[in-house]
Symmetry: C2
Subunit: 237 residues, 2 copies
């Protein structure tokens, strides 16, 4: 009938108060909290307890702590870094398998490509074409350009996400890319043919996006990811 009374620790109380102030906009990004020795007075706690609270807020990505005079706790812009870190832990922990990750990407990349095709502006397309050119350049350098090629490949995918205009797709896909490298390095059977095929895929996707053909872009992206994943899973066995 009754719920257990939640016995808040002092530091938790501080965390909640500051977090709430940030969420409600009372504390704006860029602004600064008072110095620890003053804050502890305002909260009526010891410095150690206050610091535990600040550490939690820092880990949450809500504040950044700088040393030195004029240092202190600065309110940060809310971002998706933590999302990446958490996703990374899930992946490293093998709660999320390569297969899971691959399957997830298939759906996401298709959606993203379709949205990008619908919404592409001229500037976006120019950026895509430039990245495509870069990727082609890396490919011509032979083996020593492979790493750079893969990085540019990723940039193209992220640019598509950016073009989708959806912050959630951007955040989640960014997280996926930050964490997929483990698998590239271990499971991808690197070869000139594979990268060339990859490059052709990218060209096709960009072409479909340029023509605002959402369904073609979706299909291209999906097949691209699916084939790529197929190679990795084959090597894994």
């Amino acid at each position: 009938m009754f719920k257990t009374v939640k016995q808040n620790k002092a530091y938790q109380d501080v965390v909640e108060q500051i977090q709430e102030a940030i969420m409600e906009g009372a504390l704006k990004p860029g602004s600064q909290l008072p110095a620890e020795r003053e804050l502890k007075e305002q909260f009526g706690i010891s410095r150690g307890t206050l610091r535990e609270a600040l550490r939690v807020l820092e880990q949450k990505g809500l504040i950044e702590i700088r040393t030195g005079v004029a240092g202190g706790s600065i309110i940060r812009e809310i971002n998706s870094e933590n999302l990446s870190e958490n996703l990374g832990m899930l992946i490293r922990n093998r709660s999320v398998s390569l297969h899971d990750l691959a399957e997830f990407r298939e759906g996401m990349e298709g959606d993203v490509a379709a949205l990008a095709a619908q919404r592409a502006a001229k500037g976006d397309l120019a950026q895509l074409v430039e990245l495509l050119g870069e990727a082609g350049g890396h490919l011509k350098q032979g083996r020593k350009g492979w790493d750079a090629f893969i990085r540019t490949d990723e940039q193209i995918h992220l640019e598509l996400a950016r073009m989708s205009g959806n912050q959630l797709f951007i955040a989640v896909l960014t997280s996926v890319y930050r964490n997929i490298h483990t698998y590239y390095e271990n499971y991808l059977p690197w070869s000139k043919e594979l990268l060339q095929e990859n490059f052709d895929d990218l060209r096709n996707i960009v072409a479909a996006v340029s023509e605002h053909d959402a369904e073609a872009a979706r299909q291209m992206a999906l097949e691209h990811v699916r084939r790529f994943n197929g190679y990795m899973e084959k090597k894994q066995v």
Copy 2:
């Protein structure tokens, strides 16, 4: 030419060491760290600094700290709670809009339904049918059953995610659902007709899944989410 030397704080060093031990499996979920007063000796730091490190690990969801004799820091199973919290902050902060969230759901739910249809086992289907029955029951209770209906609706969606067998879909969709309520409450034009329509959708999705018709399930789920979002966005304006 050179990179700035990273001057690790003492507590960061402790965090990294313990986190690494957990990730590598040297510390297993359920096992316990030594007491603070002993740990501080092992690391050669003061108790305050150690506690800052433990607070960070706690916030990361890696350990749980219990008081009392036989208490201490217990290694936790890695889960997606933090993912939810981060997503929640992004949403509350309006970095992620209702529209973003809706668009994201459309793609995800379609994929999930398709996967569930492919992989549904008999036990899964029985569970789905039972949940469907529950939902129908709530609906018959009239207005006072609406809340319960929405909760069951969610359970059905999450059950589909579970059936997909993909941990990533499960984690991300769970996070989405934990945070979408804000919008339901504010933007959904509650009515008997809407909930009935919703219920019919669910029945269709479950039917498609039962027949292992992946594409039908995908289409049903997509349209279901899209219509639902349409209602919310209409009211929002």
